[in-house]
C-alpha cells in the first residue's frame, strides 16, 4: 500500500470512528475547556437553563465537562448542543474562562460532518440559503419589491433615503450584515444617514455577502470559511482602513476572522465608532439640542455578541450616546444574564426555547417603565419586538441606529 493509499485508509477509519482531528486553531478552545472545575456556577446563570430547566438543556457545565470530552460520542449530544444560544454568559461568569460558546460550534461542526441527519432540519434550510446566496436570508425575488419595502419603512420612520456609495479607498467599510441588508433595511439606511451626517468617508460592498457566523453556528465550517475568505477579498479589494457594522453578531465574528485571517484593519460596532472616532462632543452638538422630539424614557437591550463576545464597554458607549440626545432619559433594565433567545440559531428549530429565553427580558423591560427599547443590533431588535408585541406590551422597539438617525438634524 502506498503512503497515499494508507492515508486514505486511515481517514476512512477515523470517519468510521467518528473522529475529526482537531485543527490547529481549535486546540486552544479545547484546551480552555480543560480548565473546567465542574462547579456549575454557569448553570446558575445560563439563560436557557433558567428558561427551560437543566433537564431539557443540561447547560454549559455539561457541555464543558461531559458532552465535549470524547469526539466519537459527539453525535449523541445533538439533543442538547443545539439548544445553546451562544450568549456567552457562561464564559463570562466562569472563573476559568472556559470557552463554551466556541466549543459548542466545534461539537456542532463534527455532528454536521458525521451525522448530518442529526442536525436540526431548520438549520439545513438556512444552510441551503446561505450556500446558494451567500446571505443568511433568502434575497427578495423582485428587486423592486425590496425597494418598495425599504421605502415604506423609511417613510414610516421618517428617515431620508440616501444613495448607496460604493467606491475604492474609502476610510470605512460600512457592513450592514444580512439582517439589515435583506430584512431590517431601515437600519442600513439609518446608519448611512448617521455616517453621512458626520462626514464619514465610507463605502458599502457592491455585492453584500454574509460574514459566515450563521454557518459557523450550525457547524458548517466549510461554508463559514469560504464566506470569511470571500469577505476578506472584498475588503482588500476596496482598500478600506476600517470596518464598521451595525450588527452585534457581525461585530464579534468579523473581529475574530479579521484577526485570524490577518486583515490588519480594525473592526468596530457603530456605537464604538461613534464614541471613539466621531466623539461624544460632536454627537452632543448634533443630538443635544433638538426640540423636535418629545421626552422619552428609553431602556436598552444588551446584545450578547456585544457585551459578552466583544466588550461590555460597547454598551457603556451606547448609553453615553443615548444620554447626549436631548429629551432622552435612560432607564437601565435589571435583567442580569439576559439573552434575547435569538442567538445560536435556536429559533430556527426550537422556537419554544428561544421564546422562553426572552421572557425574563420582557419582565425586566416592563419593570423599567421605559416607553421605548433600543438595541444596537437588528437581530435582537426583531426578536424582542416580536415577543413584546405578543406579550401585549406597549413598549416600542427601535434599533439604536434608527433612533439616532431620526433625531439628527436634517442636513
Amino acid at each position: 500500500m502506498t503512503e497515499e493509499e494508507a492515508f486514505e485508509f486511515v481517514k476512512n477509519t477515523l470517519k468510521e470512528e467518528r473522529i475529526t482531528p482537531y485543527h490547529k486553531n481549535e486546540i486552544e478552545i479545547v484546551h480552555s475547556v480543560e480548565g473546567c472545575i465542574n462547579c456549575g456556577l454557569c448553570i446558575n446563570h445560563c439563560p436557557v437553563v433558567a428558561a427551560v430547566g437543566v433537564d431539557r438543556f443540561t447547560g454549559p457545565r455539561s457541555i464543558a465537562v461531559e458532552l465535549s470530552r470524547s469526539p466519537p460520542e459527539f453525535w449523541s449530544t445533538a439533543d442538547k448542543i443545539y439548544l445553546c444560544t451562544g450568549c456567552g454568559t457562561c464564559r463570562e461568569v466562569c472563573p476559568k474562562n472556559v470557552n463554551v460558546p466556541e466549543v459548542v460550534n466545534l461539537v456542532r461542526a463534527r455532528i454536521f460532518e458525521h451525522r448530518p441527519d442529526l442536525v436540526p432540519k431548520g438549520l439545513h434550510m438556512v444552510r441551503e440559503i446561505i450556500v446558494e446566496h451567500n446571505l443568511a436570508f433568502e434575497p427578495w425575488e423582485d428587486p423592486e419589491e425590496k425597494v418598495e419595502s425599504r421605502d415604506v419603512r423609511l417613510e414610516r420612520l421618517d428617515i431620508p433615503y440616501t444613495e448607496d456609495i460604493i467606491k475604492k479607498n474609502a476610510e470605512v467599510l460600512f457592513y450592514p450584515g444580512c439582517q439589515a441588508e435583506e430584512r431590517a433595511q431601515e437600519v442600513r439606511e439609518a446608519a448611512k444617514v448617521v455616517l453621512n451626517y458626520f462626514d464619514v468617508d465610507y463605502t458599502l460592498l457592491d455585492d453584500m455577502s454574509c460574514c459566515g457566523l450563521p454557518s459557523a453556528l450550525m457547524g458548517d465550517d466549510e461554508t463559514s470559511q469560504r464566506l470569511a475568505g470571500l469577505l476578506k477579498e472584498k475588503v482588500a479589494g476596496l482598500g478600506v482602513k476600517k470596518v464598521v457594522t451595525t450588527c452585534a453578531g457581525c461585530t464579534s465574528n468579523i473581529s475574530d476572522i479579521s484577526l485570524q485571517d490577518q486583515w490588519s484593519i480594525p473592526v468596530y460596532h457603530m456605537v464604538e465608532y461613534l464614541a471613539e472616532e466621531v466623539g461624544l462632543d460632536r454627537l452632543k452638538q448634533a443630538l443635544g439640542s433638538s426640540k423636535e422630539f418629545s421626552e422619552v424614557t428609553v431602556t436598552v437591550h444588551d446584545p450578547c455578541h456585544l457585551i459578552r463576545h466583544t466588550s461590555r464597554r460597547t454598551m457603556q458607549d451606547a448609553i453615553e450616546i443615548l444620554k447626549v440626545i436631548s429629551g432622552v432619559k435612560v432607564a437601565i433594565s435589571e435583567a442580569e444574564d439576559s439573552c434575547c433567545g435569538g442567538g445560536g440559531l435556536v429559533a430556527y428549530h426550537s422556537k419554544d426555547v428561544a421564546d422562553s429565553v426572552v421572557q425574563e427580558n420582557l419582565i425586566s423591560i416592563d419593570k423599567t417603565g421605559a416607553e421605548r427599547l433600543v438595541a444596537p443590533c437588528p437581530l435582537c431588535t426583531a426578536q424582542i419586538e416580536a415577543n413584546l408585541f405578543k406579550s401585549g406590551s406597549s413598549v416600542e422597539v427601535d434599533d439604536l441606529m434608527v433612533f439616532i438617525a431620526q433625531r439628527l438634524p436634517k442636513k
Binding site: 446558575n44 430547566g53 437543566v54 431539557r56 472563573p95 464579534s252 475574530d256 466583544t310 466588550s311
Partner: protein, 452 residues
Amino acid sequence: MAGLAAGTIAAENGLETLMLRTGQSATAYSSGAIDIIGYPPEGLALKEYLPDTEVPFKTPSDGLRAILTLFPFHPYGIIGFGADDDKVVESVIAHVKESISWLKERLAGSCAALIGGFERNIYPITVLGTTKPTCLIQETMWSETLNANPDNVLIFAGFRGHAEFNALSTTRAYLENQLRTGKPPHKVGHCVLEISPFGKPYNISSIELARHFDHDGSMVDLAAAIKKHVDQLGATHVAIPPVLGIEQALQNKAELQKELGVEVFELVALPPSVPGFRLQRAMDRTFKNAGGTLLIGHQARSAIFKNDMIESVVAQSPRREVTISPKTVILASGKFIGGGLEADENGIRETVLDLMPVTTNLHPAEEVRPVYHTNVFSLSPDGHAVLGAGLAVDMDFRPIDADGVERAKNLFCAGSILAKYNYSLEKSGLGVALSTGLAAGRNAARMAKEVS
C-alpha cells in the same frame, strides 16, 4: 468578597472606582455563610499553647486572640501591624467587629440579609447533616430556638429529583450526632416533597427551585406539601435546602412559617449555592449603589510600572483590550479557583502582575512543587499547606518582594490571594476577605486622596 468590599469602601470614600472582573468570585462559590474563624490554622493542637481556649472557637474574638498569639503573620494579624504592641489584639478585634457591622448594614434588607454577630460563633446545619462554625448567616438559614427545647422535633424536607440534598442521609447523620452530644432536638424525621419547576420530577437543580419560589403564589403548594409531614411527626422545626428563592427567600420563609405554624430554616449547602448567588448579587448591588463601576468580562492581564508605581493596567475582554490608568490598584484575584495563583510541577506563580508568591510559611514559592505542600490525608485538620500559599504583604496590604519591599506604592491586595491562611480548614474565608478587603480599600482610598 475582598474586591467588592474594597471597591465599595473606596467608592463610599468618594473615589471613582472601577472593578475589573472576569468570572465570579469566591463569594458566588460560597455557602453564603460569613465565617470569621472557627479552627486554628495548620491543625495546631491548641491545648499545648492555649489550654483555656476551646476548639472550635466559641467566639470570633477567642479565635482572633489565639491567631494573633500564635500566627502573627496571618492576614488577621496584618490588620493590627500598625497598632502599638499592646493594642494589636484590640485593634484587630475592633476592625473585624466593625467589618461585620459594616457588612450587616450594607446587606440589611437585601436578598442576602444577615444575622449573627461578633459575640459568638454559631453552628448551622449543613446538607450533609454535619454542623460547622460560622459567624454570620443569611436570616433564612438560622433558627435560634432549634437547640433550645428538648421537646423540639425537626423534620428535614427534600425534593424528589433534587440530587443536591438527600433528606434521609442528612437526617441520620444529624440525629446520630445529636444523640452522641445529647443536645436537642432528639427527634428528627425526614420527608421528600414533589415540587417540579418544569413539570418533571428529575434533574432538578437548586437554582431552578429558587427561581420557581421567587414567583408569587409558589409558597402555597410548598406549604401544603410540607404540612402533612409536619402534622404527622408533630414537628416544631422544618429544615429545607437553601432554595427558598433568590429575591423572595425571606418573605417566603415568613409565609411558610405562618402557613405551617412552625419554624422553617434553610440548611447550609455545598457550593456553589443559592445563598452564595444571593450574596454575590447583593454585594454587586452594594458596590454599584456606592457609585462604583463594574466592568464585567474584563480580565486584568498586566500592568505598566513606572518607578515604584503602577501607571496603568491592561485588561482583556473577549475581543477588545483596554488600558486603565488608576491612582491605586487593589488586587483581589483570588487563589487557584479565582485564578490569582497558578502552579505547575516546578512552582507557583501570581498570574496578573507576576508578583512573588510565598508558601504558607512565607518562603518564596516560585520553585516549590505543589505536591510537597499537600497532606497524604485528603481531609484532615492539618489541611493542605499549598492552599495557604499567596502573597506576602506589608502593614498596608501592599505585596512585597523577597527583600520585603513593596512592588509598587499604589498596589494593594486582599482576600484569598493573601498567604498564610487556609480558609477551608480554619473556616475563615469570607471573614478574612471582608476584613482585609476593607483594610486594603481604605488604604488605597487614603493614598488616592493623598496623590490627588
